[in-house]
């Protein structure tokens, strides 16, 4: 890449960071209550919430890791990003109930919904918060690592310096504007990702001539070797299952789709919506923008296949280079948007997980442990917590690369194991009682830790699949075997809505 191109990419990307900061600065006056600061509860319309949901769901892993795995192993991984129907499913299953919880009490965090549903049960709130915190920190560290490494590679700065510049700015605007600035900046970053998607699709058709050419090239290229790196092509790489065992496609279909229902970045956005009757519109914007981002991941992996298969570029050192290799070949316009989109994906997910982590540390966990803090104190502590978590995460993610890679396997599945017993079972089923949900969440926490410590599960499924199944089963069985609890009338009205 020549110096002029590098300079333009850096200017374009830093312009996006500065605009994000400006949005955060502008939003700070609106973040003046606990509900606004921690949850932007009932504050925004469907367009902003929809784009923000897509941006928070589509992390750096979605834009870089998914095309990378598709480049390495074919289309099974495509299921992960072709999951745009998941938003409708999430809103149909939980949308009106989560939003309705904000009408029966103060809801600024997921812990508040747990309190309302399970009679302020401290164990449920504490255990759920700890699992969420584990998942959020894992996600946050992975986003920082991806963003910092990309820009240190481009600019030549150390990853630590890149991390401090990009995510230091992010931490700053999140501290001053909380979830209000978080949601609005994510909406802006989501828009950047959608525009990048459109630009890259046009480039893909211009370069390859379409998917038919890619299919032909991958079936006929055989083995390509250059610079000591070999890429093996096969006619099966472009079928639905790729070259992975079929069970990979099953996992990558079920987990992102069902998992979207239980992701904090989706649930928190349900109560951020001003008018609950706008939920179908919210789904429309979220699903449509996710579809464009999904198409982006599909075309960059296919584009990389085409370029390598036709010998226009050499085989990639690692699959994760697929998106950059394609953008670099496509030219300056694609490069400007793709690099900015990867940064946007990392920043949007990072800001959401930073905010949730700070809320848990400054608000939900102290509350679960019996400390009562005033609203002012909660917000002050959250600002300090957000600042400290932000700085610590930058250090940790850059200096502990191996640990971050291991933590990266937490994330999505870990978050599901925390939220499914509490929200999916809790808001759909009146008989889900405190004992059942306590047993389910404690089991999830123990199994998450055991898996992290190296416990080997049978079969080829990712470990979190087993953890979710066991925690759900235990919640249901214990709820059925123990005495049914009398529900608060307002909670009953929510479940019946």
């Amino acid at each position: 890449m020549d110096n002029m191109t590098k300079t333009l990419i850096i200017i374009f990307s830093f312009a996006m960071i500065l605009i994000s900061f400006a949005i955060g600065w502008w939003s700070k006056k609106k973040a003046n209550t606990v509900q606004a600061y921690f949850g932007s509860t009932g504050m925004f319309g469907p367009f902003a919430v929809g784009l923000s949901s897509t941006a928070a769901v589509a992390s750096a892993f979605a834009l870089v890791g998914v095309p990378g795995i598709m480049y390495s192993a074919g289309n099974a991984m495509a299921f992960w990003m072709l999951s745009s129907a998941a938003f409708a499913m999430a809103y149909l299953i939980l949308g009106k109930k989560v939003r309705a919880m904000a009408e029966i009490g103060e809801v600024a965090s997921l812990g508040d919904i747990s309190d309302l549903r399970f009679n302020n049960n401290r164990v449920i709130k504490a255990v759920m918060s700890i699992i969420l915190l584990l998942g959020c920190i894992a996600y946050l560290a992975a986003q920082i690592k991806a963003g910092a490494e990309l820009f240190s590679h481009l600019i030549g700065w150390s990853p630590l310096l890149s991390g401090f510049v990009i995510f230091g700015v992010l931490t700053l605007y999140m501290v001053i504007s909380g979830e209000v600035g978080g949601l609005l900046t994510q909406a802006f970053q989501g828009l950047v990702m959608v525009i990048a998607g459109m630009v890259i699709v046009v480039s893909f058709y211009k370069i390859t001539g379409g998917f038919g050419e890619v299919l032909k090239v991958t079936a006929e290229a055989g083995t390509v070797t250059a610079n000591g790196i070999t890429k093996n092509f096969s006619p099966d790489i472009m079928n639905a299952w790729g070259v992975l065992p079929g069970v990979a496609a099953m996992t990558y279909m079920i987990i992102p789709i069902v998992g979207t229902v239980g992701q904090p970045q989706v649930i928190t956005r349900m109560y951020a919506l001003k008018d609950p009757k706008d939920m179908p519109k919210l789904n429309f914007y979220a699903a449509l923008s996710h579809t464009v981002v999904g198409l982006l991941t599909l075309v960059v992996s296919c584009g990389a296949f085409y370029l390598v298969g036709t010998g226009k570029i050499g085989p990639l050192v690692s699959g994760d280079r697929a998106i950059y290799a394609f953008a670099d070949y496509a030219g300056i316009t694609s490069q400007l948007f793709v690099y900015a989109a990867v940064l946007a994906a990392a920043m949007s997910s990072a800001s959401l997980f930073l905010s949730i982590s700070a809320g848990i540390i400054a608000r939900d966990l102290p509350n679960a442990l019996g400390f009562k803090l005033s609203e002012k104190a909660q917000m002050s502590y959250a600002k300090i917590a957000m600042f400290l978590i932000g700085i610590a995460s930058i250090f940790f993610s850059i200096t502990q690369g191996e640990m971050v890679a291991i933590l990266g396997t937490f994330g999505w599945g870990t978050l599901m194991s925390a939220t499914f017993p509490v929200f999916v079972l809790g808001l759909l089923w009146k008989k889900a009682n405190e004992k059942g949900v306590m047993a389910g969440t404690i089991t999830a926490l123990a199994l998450n830790i055991a898996s992290f410590a190296g416990f080997k599960w049978p079969g080829a499924l990712p470990w979190y699949f087993n953890v979710i199944t066991i925690s759900m089963t235990i919640t249901v069985v214990v709820s059925l075997l123990t005495k049914e609890q009398i529900l608060n009338k307002k909670v009953e009205a929510v479940i019946e809505l």
Binding site: N75, A78, F79, L82, S83, S84, A85, A88, M89, Y91, L92, I93, K96, K97, E103, I104, F211, E213, V214, L215, A219, E220, P235, D236, N239, A240, W241, P245, G246, V247, A248, A249, M250, I254, I257, V258, P276, K277, M279, P280, K281, N283, F284, A287, T291, W429, K430, K431, P458, G459, A460, L461, T469, M472, T473, V476, L480, K490, A493, L497
Partner: protein, 153 residues
């Protein structure tokens, strides 16, 4: 279609059993049955989610839910059928450039599934929750709160 508390509990037990069965199928490598059962799992959760005061709209159940479920099951069936048929060779045809095994995933699973649920949700939003439902819910909460206040006094 009315869902009693007993029906809801039965559906929750079935969905939980489905998690277990899908998990075991995953261990054993039976991905196709696992994917079909995955669709049933999601279908049942959506039935529970759209129930309004325990009533599931038949309209909503037909479209979008049943159409969506059929679309996805068909997509997985065709994906597997053509993957087997053209295993190890360049397919003799493509669908808008896609491998005949991957095309059902793109057009039925991804675009078809997304459009079916998204448009169905918009068209039949009142079957999910109408303006009246929401207003009635808020009135109910207000009345419960008033009763609670009187009780406290």
């Amino acid at each position: 279609m009315k869902l009693s508390e007993k029906n809801i509990t039965t559906l929750i037990i079935i969905t939980t059993a489905l998690w277990v069965v899908i998990n075991v199928l995953g261990w054993l490598g039976h991905h196709m049955i696992g994917m079909y059962l995955g669709v049933i799992l999601m279908f049942l959760y959506m039935i529970l989610g759209i129930a309004n005061s325990g009533v599931v709209s038949k309209k909503f159940l037909m479209y979008p839910l049943s159409i969506w479920a059929l679309t996805w099951i068909l997509s997985f069936f065709l994906a597997d059928y053509y993957a087997e048929k053209f295993a190890g060779i360049l397919p003799t045809f493509n669908i808008l450039g896609f491998h005949p095994s991957f095309a059902p995933v793109v057009f039925l699973y991804w675009i078809g599934g997304m459009l079916t649920l998204t448009l169905g949700f918009m068209v039949y939003k009142d079957e999910w929750m109408s303006e009246n439902d929401w207003e009635n819910f808020k009135d109910k909460i207000q009345s419960i709160e008033e009763k609670e206040k009187r009780g406290a006094v």
